[in-house]
């Protein structure tokens, strides 16, 4: 389980865990769980389009993640945040339906893209994942304080000189980047479980912002590593374990918080 092509899997899984943890921390703090659900699902049609055009699926996913950021932030100028997010999903899924109807060879890839393909990561997939991880981690660290202030109160951030709209655009960009690299590994349906589960648990366990971030990353890593190991041992899908462990970590956090309240 630690040899040959599996070593790539562990490297990618580690990067995915760190990025999903870091970005997921702010997904939960910024109440952006819906966007974290919609961006990967809305990127999925990109893979279908890529297959119609005969280009790399990763390119298609990347393009649709970018379109998602532009679409959601443009729609947010006109309407409420979750309405804007949902409208983007409506458009993306419409396109996805159309693209899927145009191709026949695509269907075998559908399953992998929805539920992930973590057990088969090839060497040439490593470099792009490493680069986008570095960018996503760097941007989140750079924007740590403004994002924290903005999650406390957008008005306070605005008055301090960190305009909410620009922060939202920057954050959606990081989220899209994290999505594009995480999606092929854990799948479109599982990206947001990995982002929301560990972060929502960590913030119950500590009231210190930097400790909560570290704890989120730790829990996300434990979730990814544990899921791969369990999937390897049981032959059950990785996606099952990611979702189950995410829910379990939240349950653990809840119990701990309840014990502290007593």
């Amino acid at each position: 389980m630690f040899t040959g092509f599996m070593s790539n899997t562990w490297i990618v899984a580690t990067l995915v865990g760190v990025v999903a943890g870091m970005v997921g921390f702010f997904v939960v703090l910024r109440r952006a769980a819906f966007a974290a659900h919609v961006l990967p699902l809305g990127a999925f049609p990109g893979a279908a389009a890529a297959s119609v055009l005969g280009v790399s699926e990763l390119a298609g996913i990347g393009v649709f993640c970018g379109l998602g950021v532009l679409g959601i932030s443009q729609l947010q100028r006109w309407d409420r945040r979750e309405v804007a997010t949902a409208l983007w999903l409506a458009v993306a899924l419409a396109l996805g339906t159309l693209f899927l109807s145009m191709t026949s060879e695509y269907s075998q890839g559908v399953y992998a893209l929805l539920f992930g393909e973590v057990l088969g990561v090839s060497s040439h997939a490593l470099a792009p994942v490493a680069v986008s991880s570095a960018v996503a981690i760097g941007m989140t660290a750079l924007l740590f304080r403004p994002l924290l202030l903005d999650s406390l109160s957008p008005e306070l951030a605005e008055a301090a000189g960190a305009p909410s709209r620009r922060l939202e655009l920057a954050f959606l960009t990081v989220l899209a980047l994290a999505t594009a690299m995480t999606l092929p590994v854990v799948g479109a349906l599982m990206v947001f479980s990995l982002m929301v589960g560990p972060a929502s648990a960590a913030r119950l366990l500590t009231d210190r912002p930097r400790v909560a971030l570290a704890l989120t990353i730790g829990l996300a890593l434990a979730t990814v590593w544990g899921s791969i190991a369990l999937s390897y041992l049981t032959d059950w899908p990785v996606g099952f374990f990611i979702g189950a462990l995410a829910a379990l970590s939240y349950a653990g956090g809840r119990m701990r918080a309840a014990r502290q309240a007593r």
């Binding site: 660290a141 304080r145 924290l148 406390l152 008055a159 119950l204 009231d207 210190r208 400790v211």
Partner: protein, 272 residues
Amino acid sequence: MTDTAALSVHGLRVSFSGRPVLKDVQFEVAAGEFCALIGANGSGKTTLLKAILGLLRPQSGEVRIEPGAAGARIGYVPQKISIDPYLPLRSRDVVALGLDGARWGWPRRSRADDARVQEMLEAVGAIEFAERRVGQLSGGQQQRVLIAHALVRRPRLLLLDEPLANLDVRSTAEIVALLRRLSAQYRTAVLLSAHDMNPLLAVIDRIVYLASCCAVSGKADEVIRTEVLSRLYGYHVDVVRVHGRVVVIAAHEPEEIRAALARDPVHTAQVP
């Protein structure tokens, strides 16, 4: 602008999609002055504060602010905010974000920064709940933490948008007394908006009264007078004092109030 003004607003005009909100607002707040911005709901108090903060661009007019220490110009406490009870931020972290919350990069705070945060927490009486999650504090406690957040960089001007709304009588009195004390202690000019002037009348140096898109300002007993406010509203209002409280009453209701009364008879004719 006089030499000692912490804030001077001149000929300020703001309109939203053609509808004027502020037509010709001017007033000054002297350094260290404790000043109330009074007006009815929708009279443009928040708009005026946002224009002073530079968050919206006025059609014309000028806002000048005396620069504070280390570039800190204005402290700001927004209207009632709702905070996630599980947000991993303690009161102490919120005050620290007042020092450097807009700055990029990984936070590295010096011992001097920690000391400033500690001093500010003491100044607002937030030591007891300094280590508690800010989302789990009461409204009055949150207000203290947000005031510390706004003052930690020692601005020369502090703006507060309806800080007394949603507070009970006792917390209102405590927050007013706290602001008065901090204003004197740090020589920070304070401009706080409220729809009810009564909890403030005893302590303020100056009142800015906003109505009909314009403002009058001066000492409270110069402004809260029948002839001054009638001129401002553009119709006759009576300033009535009952048991030490002030009420402003429209003698003849203006058209929109008469229309509201016709729709809903329980409306009173009191403005604001």
